[in-house]
């Protein structure tokens, strides 16, 4: 979830009255904001991923104004711009562009840093880290329209934050943004946004030019998005434009896109907002309670919806263009539920006539645990993620590997519980100087061949005089209590066992596990000084024969 910082004075300026922290915390719950830190005038919070509009002070202030009932929701002054953007030469791999102009804004340091924060957070979330969408903001008064979006073989301009002009190649190689996002453009087919005088606006999605940057003196702002996903572009650009508009904007103008008229149309329609019908039966059905017709219009307005029509069965609302998170009426139902206060919604949970049940695997697991404890085994718990070097040292060659592990010691999935159990014996014997020890674990392992999970129980008997017989006796006793008569067949496939001292556990022709006596090589590796018998039973397989 994006972490956003705002300044209280800026927020108060935008809201138009003072706000104390207590009040802000209360309002934050309505907006799903999680306060992370309040330091002096600076407030840091986590915004919900879907509320793009709350990634900066402008949108947060707008939401607060509405929640407090200081203003009623209104439509925005959206029109067509006389400026157009020509996308005829757009690169095929990043073919779309949208441009909007917001006129009459008043900016200062804080406003600019808020808008950049919004741009940055949008890039990280809904823009797919600039791969799907990238945003640029420019001072319109430094640009000579129309604007061209096209692929160029090369380009030369002063990148944002640099004093000298550079070639596109140099920008990619030497600037920080170039190195981060260079992989998103193709050499010799650079996407470029340039004006009719040849002034470069930006090399999207990498960097803007210094010549068109916005400053405290900028009054009219041109914003573009380029990318591969028009609907995401429209949502992101609408969010950005409406935030800029909150800084004293007078009018929002959509640029027509030459050769791709539909892109301009899509943005225009997004900025107009939508109408949605919320059925009252749906409110009751989904929430399980209803605040009633008299409350719903007020609740909706405080969430920024304009109530267009109220009937006995539905409410028709206008969804503001910055609420790109609203997909269907259920999103609006949630806002109603929040207004009702979740803590006030309650009642009786009906227990159904159908009985609940424990999964058969877990039922057998319970018996297995009880029986083994009865035989003097102590239960332990280990991770499924384990260390490949340890498995290899025991002789395991096949196990499932993680492509992006954080630590090598937890980078593969155990193919069996036995390695975990053996490590447990070693650790405890060393730690407590034990002469003998009986432990077991019930848990899951992942088959490296078919990647399925299997439920297993594995145990070991350690101590002077222990032989394979101790393992066989344990398994036989365990299985017979479960009503199963095991047959032990010679088994040579266990690298851990002494040759001739291992057995397959066969039940009705199905191999359900194995028993063995650890080879001295393994005991030495585990720094153990007495013999050890072990077993592993696949409970998943047992279920098939029970």
């Amino acid at each position: 979830m994006p972490v956003v910082s705002v300044r209280l004075w800026d927020l108060e300026r935008l809201v138009g009255r003072s706000i104390d922290l207590e009040e802000l915390r209360r309002l934050a719950d309505f907006l799903k904001l999680e306060f992370e830190e309040v330091r002096g005038d600076s407030i840091t919070f986590e915004a919900p991923h879907d509320r793009l509009d709350l990634y900066s002070a402008e949108g947060l202030a707008r939401a607060i104004v509405l929640l407090l009932g200081l203003k009623k929701p209104t439509v925005y002054p959206v029109g067509w711009s006389s400026i157009h953007v020509d996308a005829r030469g757009a690169p095929r791999y990043r073919p779309y562009v949208m441009v909007v102009v917001v006129r009459g804004v008043k900016l200062d340091d804080e406003a600019i840093s808020q808008l950049f924060q919004l741009q940055e957070k949008l890039h990280l979330t809904h823009c797919g880290n600039r791969e799907l969408v990238s945003i640029g903001l420019y001072d319109l008064d430094t640009i000579k329209p129309p604007v061209y979006y096209r692929a160029v073989a090369t380009a030369e301009f002063r990148p944002l934050g640099y004093s000298t002009s550079m070639s596109a190649e140099t920008i990619l190689e030497t600037t920080e943004k170039g190195r981060l996002y260079g992989h998103l453009v193709r050499r010799g087919k650079y996407p470029l946004l340039v004006d009719s005088a040849g002034t470069v606006l930006s090399l999207p999605p990498i960097i803007n030019s210094e010549d068109t940057r916005i400053t405290e003196r900028s009054r009219n702002i041109l914003i573009d998005v380029t990318g591969t996903e028009p609907r995401l572009m429209a949502s992101v650009l609408a969010t950005m434009a409406l935030a800029v508009y909150e800084r004293g904007g007078e009018v929002i103008e959509v640029a027509r896109v030459v050769s791709r008229e539909e892109l301009g149309e899509m943005l225009f329609s997004t900025l107009l907002g939508r109408e949605l019908i919320v059925g009252l039966r749906r409110v009751e059905n989904l929430i399980g309670a209803s605040p009633g017709l008299e409350k719903i219009p007020e609740y909706l307005e405080r969430y920024g919806y304009r109530v267009l029509e109220v009937t006995e069965s539905y409410v028709k609302v206008w969804v503001p263009p910055y609420r790109v998170d609203v997909i269907d009426e259920d999103d609006i139902v949630e806002d109603i539920a929040i207004s009702m206060d979740y803590n006030a919604i309650g009642g009786y949970l009906e227990v159904p006539a159908a009985r609940g049940s424990v999964h058969p695997l877990e039922r057998v697991t319970r018996f297995v645990r009880d029986i083994l404890v009865g035989m003097g085994f102590t239960e332990v718990a280990n991770f499924i993620l384990t260390d490949p070097d340890y498995l290899t040292s025991l002789g395991y060659v096949r196990f499932t590997e993680i492509e992006n592990p954080k630590m090598r010691t937890y980078s593969v999935l155990r193919p069996s519980l036995l390695p975990s159990v053996l490590a447990t014996v070693s650790r405890n014997v060393k730690k407590y100087g034990l002469q003998d020890l009986k432990v077991f674990e019930v848990g899951d392992a992942v088959d490296p061949d078919n990647l399925t999970t299997s439920r297993r129980v594995s145990g070991s008997i350690y101590g002077s005089g222990v032989t394979l017989t101790d393992g066989l006796a344990t398994v036989k006793t365990l299985l017979e209590i479960l009503g199963i008569k095991p047959v032990f067949e010679p088994f040579d496939g266990l690298p851990i066992a002494i040759p001739g001292r291992a057995a397959k556990v066969v039940v009705k022709g199905i191999t359900t596990g194995y028993v063995g006596e650890a080879h001295p090589r393994v005991l030495k590796l585990l720094e153990l000084r007495a013999p050890l018998a072990f077993f592993e039973i696949l409970i998943s397989e047992l279920l098939r024969v029970l």
Partner: protein, 505 residues
């Protein structure tokens, strides 16, 4: 303690009392020998008799003498003066050179000559030593006295400090050391009841012989001292965390839920796409999801049903507004939540009225520390039905928290890509304050419709099992839950609520 005419004592105490009534006073060492027991074993009985006022235990310092090594040898081969006289009796006289030829050590020889002279048995002149045979008897008496007393000291005993004892000490025939002497003596009380002492049977352990008696009146069962800490036993036990998970399972079943299971290695399709998490969503990045190396083994996990894949594509493109990529959905990962199991179940069972849950492990890239693990547990569940509502979800959370003794639940609005409305439930942790443990919501239509559910509501949640277990066990470090330390397993107390003590509520 029996009637006044009969003083009944437990057998061991009786034996001691009888001995002391006869001898009045004895060193503890001798008493032990007489009883055929070890001294340290007798001490406890003496303490008991002293407490009853029958005896006094006296501690004093004494000198104990014992034959020295040379003393032992002389008892064997004869004292030096004895041997010298023997030679003189044959020869009458010996020159100094003869004396040296006898093979006796210088100091031995000097001592022997000195004693012979003292007893007047020999005359020492210039040419040597001459026996005065009429005086030999005096010497023999001396020798007998010395050897007689020396034999008394063959086993260590108190140094008598008479002239002869001092002589032995001077001559180095005995060694004397200071020791602490422990002796006991009978008190007037014991002497006055001595005639009425009776030996009682005291039973510590009930044996077959005891059981076979027909009358147990004369037996004294040794009363046990309850202030003595009983020994602790080693025990084999089930693991505390597995037990808590099993308890949660029990709670779910009691609320009418059926348990289901699903794979740990999962397709992104079930973990994310079916849940309407856009493919560009940050939670799908490699920093947040473990990917399986290799991959390409989709079929083994039940594959990706074509109809479902098509529907998922349609819904993502229509409602999330981007081009959906099947390749990404077919990547293999370790499931990041058990909600994958819930949606698999919905696909399998479709429409209807049912409740299922799963409680199992999930994985997220992390480095272990007190509050993070790369592998932990979730309890995911769904309630499916035409009229299942958000209210039912909130009520379920309240019931679940009550059953686990977690007390009051507070709800706050939350965001999850796959639910609307969404909620986070908080319970109070004694140290950490309100902690979030109950996240859930109503599955979106964009989740349900591709799975084949139309006109049905599904309440869903994914409860953090580990955090609740930590609250119940009073653990601050999540790593302690996955303990393979047998002592930890042995001593960990089950939470009150699992014991049935009602927990905190």
């Amino acid at each position: 303690m029996g009637s006044p005419s009969v003083v009944k004592l437990p057998p061991r105490l009786y034996d001691i009392a009888v001995l002391l009534a006869r001898f009045r006073s004895l060193p503890v060492s001798e008493l032990a020998v007489a009883l055929g027991r070890r001294e340290q074993d007798v001490m406890r009985d003496l303490a008991e008799l002293e407490a009853r006022g029958f005896i006094r235990v006296l501690r004093r310092e004494v000198r104990v003498a014992e034959v020295s090594d040379s003393g032992r040898r002389y008892l064997d081969v004869g004292l030096p003066e004895e041997r010298l006289v023997e030679v003189l009796l044959k020869t009458g006289r010996l020159s100094f050179s003869d004396l040296r030829g006898l093979g006796m050590a210088e100091d031995e020889l000097n001592a022997a000559i000195g004693i012979l002279r003292r007893c007047g048995v020999a005359e020492i002149g210039r040419e040597g030593i001459t026996l005065k045979s009429e005086r030999v008897r005096a010497l023999n008496e001396y020798v007998e006295r010395v050897k007689g007393r020396l034999r008394e000291y063959l086993s260590p005993r108190e140094f008598k400090d008479e002239e002869i004892d001092r002589e032995l000490r001077r001559r180095g025939l005995i060694s004397v050391r200071e020791v602490k002497d422990l002796r006991v003596e009978a008190t007037e009380v014991l002497l006055s009841v001595a005639s009425s002492l009776t030996r009682g049977e005291v039973v510590t352990v009930v044996t077959p012989e005891v059981i076979s008696l027909s009358n147990w009146d004369h037996i004294e069962f040794k009363p046990f001292d309850l202030s003595v800490e009983p020994p602790k036993l080693r025990l084999a036990r089930k693991h505390f965390f597995v037990d808590i998970i099993d308890y949660m399972r029990e709670v779910m079943v009691s609320l009418g839920f059926e348990e289901v299971k699903g794979p740990h290695v999962e397709l992104e399709l079930w973990n994310f796409d079916v849940l309407f998490v856009p493919q560009y969503h940050p939670s799908r990045r490699p920093t947040d999801v473990y990917r399986i190396k290799g991959g390409g083994q989709v079929a083994v996990l039940g594959g990706a049903p074509v109809s479902l894949v098509n529907e998922v594509k349609r819904y993502h493109e229509a409602f999330a507004g981007y081009t959906w990529d099947q390749e990404k959905a077919l990547r293999l990962i370790l499931r990041t939540h058990c909600t994958a199991v819930s949606v698999r179940t919905l696909f399998e069972r479709g429409e209807g009225e049912y409740r299922v849950f799963t409680i199992d492990r999930v994985f997220r890239p992390d480095t272990p520390d007190p509050t993070h693990l790369m592998e932990f547990h979730q309890l995911d569940g769904i309630m499916v039905g035409r009229n299942i509502s958000f209210k039912d979800l909130l009520q379920f959370f309240r019931e679940f928290a009550r059953a686990l003794g977690l007390g009051e639940v507070r709800f706050k609005p939350a965001y999850f890509p796959f639910t609307e409305p969404s909620v986070e439930g908080y319970v109070k942790h004694p140290k950490l304050g309100w902690v979030e443990v109950l996240p859930g919501g109503m599955f979106r239509r964009q989740v349900l419709e591709p799975l084949g559910l139309h006109g049905y509501n599904v309440a869903a949640w994914g409860i953090g099992v580990d955090r609740i277990a930590m609250i119940l066990l009073g653990i601050d470090d999540i790593r302690e839950l996955y303990s393979d330390d047998i002592r930890e397993v042995e001593i960990r107390r089950p939470p009150k609520v699992v014991l049935g003590a009602g927990g905190l509520s």
